[in-house]
Symmetry: C3
Subunit: 149 residues, 3 copies
């Protein structure tokens, strides 16, 4: 379990962030008197609602790449990327709550972190395939080669 | 695999519940003549649609805390919480289908179960951190202390 | 890790597909001038938007049954089903983008693949339960019986 405890900690932090976003939507519903099941209302409410919906939509994708990257490539690197992603999502949510423009910079950053995690996952899976099916330890070979230089 | 088979069983039950909710939306679309891609219509349809959307949104969060709590804390306790959560979601869906008011009691209960799972996950991760990085077995120590009293 | 590397590869492929769908929504927002947080507009935009929302909603369910089926039943069979599902979702997205009717055939096919994965998961979990708690290796017994015939 020591190989995944960092990923699990980042995961629980992500769940707490989602809980915080959900509570903000509830407060916003009260503030702007938008009762369920309605999802449209003043732009201030709709921005908060869409910000939470977007974060929820990306949450499973984030968790999936966090864990594949962490298990098949590097737990440390994945956990750091995970923390960067969660921080970017917090800035995205706050920015979007204020203006549609305010969501863009943190959104682009969070997308870049996701691409990094996808890249690490792909590398890790590729190395594992080589090791398991071709009996070829590329990661070990790479480390040796870098040591020699 | 014996350490996760209970979690896997609850997970598959949760997937079946989501399938049931999706079918209810399809029936409701037919009944109230709301063809895709439209998502607005009479309040009866919108309540069913939102009930399913809300359950879908919470599904990944539920699965994530079910497994972190089950792997890092206790499979038995997590599985029981998982069954309670799935039952609460069923009552939520049926309550919301009848009236917006009817969703509240089971929604609050399902949220409490999620908080319990988040608490167990955090405890389990904290104990694992202590054991792995500080070589300190708090859980074992706690059990010994309780035995002595 | 050799028991899950195929599942991980299909998972990352699924994430890339979701990224492709998200980009299509962004292009469609620009093409039909629908700025966030608005989610309604011309039917052409709404179909693309709903197609992506539906795929996102099913993504966690797909990942969950892919892995339970792969870990508790058969990695090879699950991975093949996973590829079929992802291909069906691509055809669904393209079909729905053109007409509401065009989404139906691939949607039904993708649902059948999900039901197969749910069936494999249930079988695998049932066999594991029998082996762990009843000390009864049904899968091994079944293979022996088939060999004898």
């Amino acid at each position: 379990m020591e190989e995944t405890v960092g990923l699990a900690a980042v995961t629980v932090l992500g769940v707490l962030e989602q809980a915080y976003f959900s509570l903000q939507v509830i407060y916003s519903r009260r503030k702007y008197s938008v009762s369920p099941p309605a999802t449209s209302g003043p732009p201030e409410f709709e921005r908060v609602f869409r910000a939470q919906a977007n974060c929820s939509e990306y949450f499973p994708i984030f968790i999936v790449v966090l864990w594949t990257s962490g298990v098949f490539f590097s737990q440390g690197l994945s956990s750091v990327c995970g923390l960067l992603y969660l921080h970017a999502r917090l800035r995205y949510f706050r920015g979007y709550s204020q203006s549609a423009q305010g969501r863009l910079a943190p959104l682009y950053f969070s997308a870049q972190v996701l691409w990094a995690l996808i890249g690490f996952s792909s590398l890790g899976i590729f190395f594992t395939f080589c090791r398991v099916y071709l009996n070829l330890d590329l990661l070990h070979g790479l480390c040796c080669a870098l040591n020699l230089i």
